[in-house]
Amino acid sequence: MSRVSHSPAKRLFTVAILFTMAALAVAYIFLRQPTGAVAEIGKPAPDFTLGILGGDYLSLSELRGQVVMLNFWATWCEPCRDEMPAMQTVYERYRDEGFEIVGINLQETEVTVRGFVNQLGITFPIVYDLTGEVYDAYLVRPMPTSYFLDRDGIVRFLFIGPMTEQEIEQRVRLLLYGTGEPA
């Protein structure tokens, strides 16, 4: 039970302390997220500029206007290898309609990546994430992880794990035409 009356000064002091604590607590909860843009469905995909195999650089923003599949992979990741032929097939089928796949490779040497690309006959662009920053921005943990962006660069779908040809095609058609049924 309150035993004393409180002077205005004491009230002010108490409220000031309590407010500071509350503010810090809120900061603690919300500011401890990674700084910088983070990929989220419904939000614009974080832009990046990475070295591209066989060229200079590729920026994600250059692909605005196309439906983009961002595929995070590595040559030593078995499920990534497994889904590559399916990706290549869908790519060839729809690239003239405005579909682009960007394979984002995690920290491998150019020699290894080029060898793999030639071995499998991949024709879609491959870029290198040498520092892993783009992986962090897209919250990638297991590989393969695929993000699908619409023509405005908004993240629409996220898929973790290897994809079948149907699964890729369905999403691509949805973003290209608004319907998911294969032709």
Binding site: A25, R81, G115, P142
Partner: protein, 498 residues
């Protein structure tokens, strides 16, 4: 009747119009409750226990994201736990809310009790009745022929000499010692609050980071979360006889805005500090650097293969082609750090680590068309059966590159955390080791009543009073008709406002 030397009005103060209870008053009353503190402590403890029993995010052995892992691993329970935030117990909003509420509770309780305590201790009621004094924890009565004023003078002088603060009101005296023992809990609370606020302060951007990074010998790398770089000028490691590392250090140079600012070896437990960032030596590894092979070509008609020159590959950064000599060019078709054969694809790599490095090459020599060759690093002279290749290799040289594992660590809240802990310990020390002794003295009709209480350590109080009373008896030349006795603590509890 006179109680406490004051006339107690037997009538209620003028009827107060029932004042509307302001929000502030309700807020204050709610948070001034010790019961609330107990409830909050229990909830926080329960949450902490649960957090130890439930597998937390970031601590489970899988790279799947939590929203997938928990339902997969634990079924419905897993999904519920995840949705409720039990899987990130210590960073969930409700756990922090509990902590904040507890902090508020602590502040309000402390102010609520501390202010009256200080006031009461500073202005003690000196004059007490004989009945009051006789019902204190420790009581004795002396008899002296001296006049009361003189007796009291001598007694208070004795107490003052023993380090007591003394007060006087006519023939009544009061002495107390060890007030700081009463302040102990409040000091502890202040320490804990400082600790809490400092820990929350770690959320302020720029106050805290902790990140591991690699820097190879000779390499210059940006220190994570900072705007300066560090160069590894050399890595040294020494071993004990049984193979354990005895010492490892990195000769590090900090470069800030293009200029070398600091050069210092970083050893385990001896970090480099620059701009309030600590660089700690955490790990190391040895990697293959430049590896050289003699390129040998079998020539029909000759027993021994001919050496065409040296093929030198930087294993950290293999190039797409190598010029071995004027007329020999090696093209790297594929490099597989951890070679294995896949039934569908052929040669693949099982992992990113160079556990079994294999190079698939095409070699052009002179006017000959490109011919295939395969280099197995672990066995350079191995010729793959079934591959029609005139080329073999012989290991010529090997370079080991050391990579130093450092941690970039910064925590500006640390000094406040330590201060908070020191204050807390100090408060606990005061609470346990100092006890607040209060003695009332009353001289009347040649009889001297001495009664004392303390907030803890009753036995010490008894011994202390015994000693003091013996001294007083000497000073006064008094007799002791009522020997010193210990009684159960008086009902008028030894609280601040008595």
């Amino acid at each position: 009747m006179t109680v406490h030397g004051k006339v107690q009005p037997n009538v209620r103060p003028k009827a107060q119009a029932k004042a509307p209870v302001s929000f502030y008053d309700r807020f204050w009353r709610f948070f001034a409750s010790v019961r609330l503190a107990i409830v909050l402590i229990f909830l926080i403890a329960a949450a902490a226990v649960l957090g130890s029993l439930i597998q937390q995010e970031g601590a489970y052995p899988s790279s799947l994201p939590p929203e997938i892992y928990y339902p997969m691993e634990y079924g419905t329970y897993g999904e519920i736990m995840y949705k409720l935030g039990f899987t990130r117990m210590y960073s969930s909003w409700w756990f922090l809310l509990l902590l904040v509420l507890f902090g508020v509770n602590l502040i309000v309780c402390s102010i609520d009790r501390f202010v009256p305590l200080i006031k009461a201790l500073r202005n003690p009621k000196v004059a007490r009745s004989r009945r009051f004094i006789a019902s204190r924890q420790v009581y004795t009565q002396l008899r002296t022929a001296r006049p009361p004023e003189e007796a009291l003078d001598l007694i208070l002088a004795r107490f003052r000499k023993e380090g007591y603060k003394v007060y006087r009101d006519g023939v009544h005296g009061y002495a107390d010692k060890g007030r700081w023992g009463r302040y102990g809990p409040y000091i502890t609370h202040i320490g804990l609050l400082l600790l809490l606020v400092a820990t929350l302060g770690m959320a302020v951007p720029g106050w805290y980071h902790d990140e591991f990074f690699w820097v190879a010998e000779g390499e210059t790398v940006r220190v994570p979360h900072t705007d300066f770089v560090v160069r590894n000028d050399g890595f040294h490691v020494e071993f004990y006889d049984d193979g354990r590392p005895r010492l490892f250090q990195t000769d590090a140079v900090i470069i800030d805005e293009g200029e070398e600012r600091l050069a210092k070896p970083i050893r385990v437990n001896e970090p480099l500090v620059y701009k309030r960032v600590n660089l700690l030596q955490a790990s190391y590894e040895f990697l293959l650097g430049e590896t050289s092979f003699e390129l040998l070509r079998t020539v029909p008609g000759q027993d021994e293969p001919v050496s065409l020159g040296l093929l030198t590959i930087d294993m950290q950064n293999p190039a797409p082609e190598y010029i071995v000599s004027d007329d020999t060019k090696v093209t790297v078709v594929h490099y597989l750090p951890d070679f294995a054969m896949d039934p569908n694809l052929g040669p693949i790599s099982k992992s990113p680590d160079p556990l079994n490095p294999v190079f698939i090459l095409q070699i052009e020599h002179g006017d000959e068309p490109a011919e295939p060759a395969i280099l197995f690093l672990l066995q350079p002279d191995f010729a793959l059966p079934g591959l029609d290749s005139p080329y073999t290799f012989r290991l010529a040289g090997l370079e080991i590159v050391a990579r130093s594992g450092l941690i970039s660590h910064k925590n500006l809240a640390l000094p406040y955390i330590y201060t908070g802990l020191v204050i807390t310990v100090f408060g606990v020390f005061l609470s346990f080791y100092l006890y607040h002794r209060r003695v009332w003295i009353r001289c009347e009709d040649g009889l001297i009543d001495i009664g004392a209480i303390s907030n803890k350590h009753a036995f010490s109080l008894e011994r202390e009073l015994h000693r003091l009373v013996e001294a007083v008896k000497q000073d006064l030349g008094a007799e002791q008709p009522v020997p010193l006795r210990r009684q159960p603590k008086a009902a008028a509890a030894a609280t601040a406002d008595s």
